[in-house]
């Protein structure tokens, strides 16, 4: 039996740009992710770049990147009764409000849990729900600084060992993406704990997942903390060595000697095939200590090799010797990769209003029995307001006399009924 893993799951997203990628991951896994926006639209709709550089809430590529596959609902009173009704019908509520704002809007976990005890609430904030920095402000750049990856990235210092360039943060909002991915993991784990008979945590209840983006960033610098604990020295940033191929492209050229003696043997054979081994054929180089002491000879041979190949070719030369080499590509150059194409990774999504077909990254892993849901294109602002309110058991405010509270009161019973239907469906599946 196949079908998206989260088919039928309802996710209410009240998230800004720091956690929209989480909603996107859940949508890709098959959840019905409903993004609640004000009538002026999510902030990310105002971020460039825009299609053909024409600023418009439906043309923001920042919005497109992280809102594929969601539905959009506009609620002019996003803290009002309709939102409470949607919360009653939801499985997951993903938000990015500071703790104080959530309380002020009755969207704190205690209030939401009273409405819907099965609701899983995931709060993604810069620093988490408590602690001395809890109310501090941060964007991706600040998080990259505090988390530690920035201190570890950048160019070499000058000959006097003084850095004349700053530490560098990666572009692409990596701290937001790390926090979003951890949020998705927490949500999936909470769903498992809530729904699975196997979980050993039988209760059927929701819970609060408290994601601190700062902590997420702080835990992703590989060996740096342990290296410091061992040596008392902090890492001083410097780029990994790379080779320049004859077309000017650079290739990350790792020689992971520590994996065993076969690494050098394979490398040497490849250099000999290319007639550039030079002094490395000296048997002394078989000794790892000698090799380490004469590393510049090895590097010279690699430079001779690089001069013979273009970037993609040099990458494949290294790989032919079992070396973990990779040509440094820009993000858009990745789309042409034949391996990813054969795995069907990139997907074409229709944008009918713009008469465009746009290439997006597809599934982050291959799961044939629970396939990734690639689209549809990111929602237009408020595109699904009516249909979602109907689907999720809330009458359309416009069709209900008086709207507002009256609509919400009707919605309450409808939502409860819907929940029971779902429970029956769940039984039927078992």
């Amino acid at each position: 039996m196949t079908g998206p893993a989260l088919a039928g799951l309802r996710v209410l997203e009240l998230a800004d740009e720091s956690a929209e990628y989480c909603g996107r991951l859940l949508a890709g896994l098959g959840a019905d992710v409903v993004k609640v926006e004000s009538s002026s639209g999510a902030a990310s709709r105002s971020f460039g770049p825009f299609v053909e550089d024409i600023p418009d809430p439906s043309r923001s590529l920042s919005f497109w990147a992280d809102n594929l596959g969601k539905r959009s609902v506009v609620l002019d009173e996003p803290d009002g009764e309709t939102l409470q009704m949607l919360s009653r019908s939801a499985d997951v509520l993903l938000h990015t409000m500071p703790a104080s704002e959530a309380v002020a809007k009755n969207l704190d976990f205690a209030s939401l849990s009273a409405l819907n005890p099965r609701l899983i609430v995931c709060a993604v904030t810069p620093f988490g729900q408590n602690g001395p920095w809890a109310e501090y402000e941060a964007d991706d750049l600040v998080l990259m600084a505090l988390g530690g990856s920035m201190a570890a990235c950048g160019y070499r210092p000058g000959p006097d060992l003084i850095y004349d360039t700053p530490p560098l943060a990666s572009m692409g909002d990596q701290a937001y993406r790390t926090a979003s991915t951890y949020a998705a993991i927490g949500i999936l784990a909470a769903l498992w704990a809530r729904d699975s008979e196997d979980s050993g945590v039988s209760s059927g209840g929701g819970q609060l997942i408290d994601v601190s983006a700062h902590e997420c960033s702080a835990s992703m610098t590989e060996w740096h903390l342990l290296s410091y604990l061992c040596s008392g020295d902090v890492y001083r940033r410097a780029p990994h060595p790379s080779l320049t191929a004859n077309d000017g492209r650079r290739v990350a050229a790792l020689v992971p000697d520590f994996l065993g003696s076969h690494v050098f043997e394979n490398l040497l054979a490849m250099l000999e095939r290319n007639d550039v081994a030079g002094p490395l054929t000296d048997p002394q180089f078989k000794d790892p200590g000698y090799r380490a002491a004469n590393y510049s000879e090895l590097w010279q041979a690699l430079k001779r090799l690089a001069a013979l190949h273009d970037g993609e070719g040099l990458y494949r030369q290294g790989q032919s010797a079992g070396l973990p080499w990779g040509v440094i590509r820009s993000p858009d150059e990745v789309v042409a990769d034949p391996h990813l194409a054969a795995r069907g990774h990139f997907v074409e999504i229709e944008h009918p209003e713009l008469e465009m077909t746009v290439t997006y990254p597809g599934a982050p892993f291959v799961a044939r029995s629970s396939p990734w849901v690639a689209g549809p294109r990111p929602p237009l602002l408020g595109e699904h307001t009516e249909v979602v309110l109907a689907d999720w058991g809330v009458p359309n405010a416009e069709s209900a006399d008086g709207g507002g509270i009256a609509a919400a009161a009707n919605g309450g019973s409808a939502a409860a009924g819907n929940r029971e239907d779902e429970a029956d469906d769940e039984e039927a599946r078992k």
Binding site: F47, L141, G154, G172, Q174, T178, S199, C230, Q319, P331
Partner: protein, 440 residues
């Protein structure tokens, strides 16, 4: 704990795969690492080595075989301790021996999930293909985590983090205009790939609970990365504006949304700094809104230059960013970095110290207050501040030491107990298997 009662038979090595099972262990799953004393996980014997109490080891530097062969045991390679929290257990079994393979099949039968990060085809050669596993556990969830995945023309290619980062555009995204990429100096994609490995494990579990069926989930180190360039990729494809162009990437400057001033600014040294370390102290400031800018101006004493028309709007400030940054740095250079951060944050200006590893351990009050680090050791190693999953759950709290609240395992620490508990082997049977070097 959310994943209590689940068992993962874990063949992952190094960082990428181990990150995935670390997460599951911290969430309560029982993770049983299957290891080998003959070919130990390289991460166990990679420098730096954890020192004896009171001693210091040498820094990471460039790991060579000469260094690794200097490892006294397989239990003091420090990076192992980054990736193997979550209460992982360690058993050693020689899969090349028929009795070893038979034991592995029996372990598959009692496991919910099997994870591995070998080259594609390795488990098949052992005689432990997915089809074979299904004979012993019909609904087994098999999560493979090899660099290029298990199919496709380049599936024999090998990766480490920096390889995958180069190939997927991430290395490219770290750099200043007019210079070659600086890239990531650590294996960011070991982490991200591992996170998606954890998502794959959980996806497999949820699918099984709905359908009763297992599956093979094929995680590579490439596909988790392609969405990480976000709008940069779409801008190139939709607007025909290749990312490889003059002035891009933009270092620490950000245009979407515009942040100005925005970037890293040098500060005064910390008290007690050497000349060298004192010259490399930085703070990030990022003003995206008018309110941020007005607040910043007040904090720095409302200098006359800040009211010049060339800095009036965020667009003006972006256009004159070099001049603005130089003027702002005159202020930051007069202040220690944490003091500057706190005074800016008190005025609600987004600002943060560029923290290194020592700072996170010793200076960061937020990580301390949140209980980010957990002191865990094992019989060979004094307790260390280690990390698990960086989020909290109110009803099923994660634990960096896993369900058994224990530090990373010694090589083979759990062999006898796990085989006795799970397969009912008695002491005599275990002794024979040890004598025959099956449990090696």
């Amino acid at each position: 704990m959310a994943l209590r009662g689940l068992r993962i038979l874990d063949f992952t090595r190094l960082g990428f795969g181990a990150q995935a099972t670390l997460i599951c262990g911290c969430l309560g799953a029982e993770v049983i690492r299957v290891e080998s004393t003959i070919r130990p996980d390289p991460i166990r014997v990679m420098p730096p080595f954890l020192p004896d109490p009171g001693e210091r080891s040498t820094g990471f530097g460039s790991a060579t075989l000469a260094d690794t062969s200097g490892a006294k045991t397989a239990n003091r390679g420090a990076v192992f301790y980054k990736y193997n929290t979550g209460g992982k257990k360690s058993i050693t079994i020689d899969a090349s021996k028929p009795k070893g393979l038979a034991l592995l099949k029996q372990l598959v039968a009692v496991s919910d999930v099997v994870t591995e990060s070998f080259a594609a085809g390795t488990l098949n050669r052992w005689g432990l293909s997915y089809d074979e596993m299904r004979k012993h556990r019909h609904d087994v969830i098999y999560v493979s985590m090899c660099g290029f995945g298990h199919d496709g023309p380049d599936s024999s290619h090998v990766t480490m983090g920096p390889t995958a980062q180069a190939l997927t555009g991430l290395t490219f995204l770290v750099g200043m205009p007019g210079r070659s990429p600086a890239g990531w100096t650590f294996s960011y994609l070991d982490h991200v790939g591992g996170y998606l490995g954890a998502v794959a494990i959980l996806t497999g579990l949820i699918h099984r609970s709905k359908t009763g069926q297992g599956q093979h989930l094929d995680v590579s180190q490439l596909e988790p990365a392609t969405a990480l360039s976000g709008a940069i990729l779409l801008d190139a494809l939709v607007n025909n504006r290749p990312a490889r162009r003059d002035g891009f990437p933009t270092g620490n400057r950000r245009d979407h949304p515009a942040s100005a001033p925005g970037g890293a600014y040098r500060t005064a040294p910390d008290p007690g700094d050497s000349a060298l370390s004192g010259s490399d102290r930085w703070i990030v400031i990022s003003c995206r809104t008018e309110l941020h800018w007005q607040s910043l101006k007040k904090v720095i004493g409302s200098p006359a230059w800040a009211d010049e028309t060339r800095f009036a709007t965020v667009a003006d400030r972006s256009a004159n960013a070099d001049a603005l940054d130089a003027l702002l740095e005159e202020w930051t250079l007069r202040h220690e970095r944490y003091e500057a951060m706190n005074v800016l944050q008190a005025a609600r200006v987004p600002a943060g110290v560029v923290q290194d590893a020592a700072d996170r351990l010793e200076r960061d009050p937020q990580l301390a207050a949140r209980g980010h680090f957990t002191m865990l050791g094992n019989p060979d190693v004094e307790p260390l501040p280690l990390e698990g999953v960086p989020f909290r759950m109110s009803r099923t709290p994660p634990d960096t030491g896993g369900a058994i609240h224990r530090g990373p395992p010694l090589l083979g620490q759990d062999t006898d107990k796990a085989l006795s508990d799970l397969l009912g082997l008695d002491p005599d049977e275990l002794r024979v298997l040890h004598d025959e070097r099956v449990l090696a």
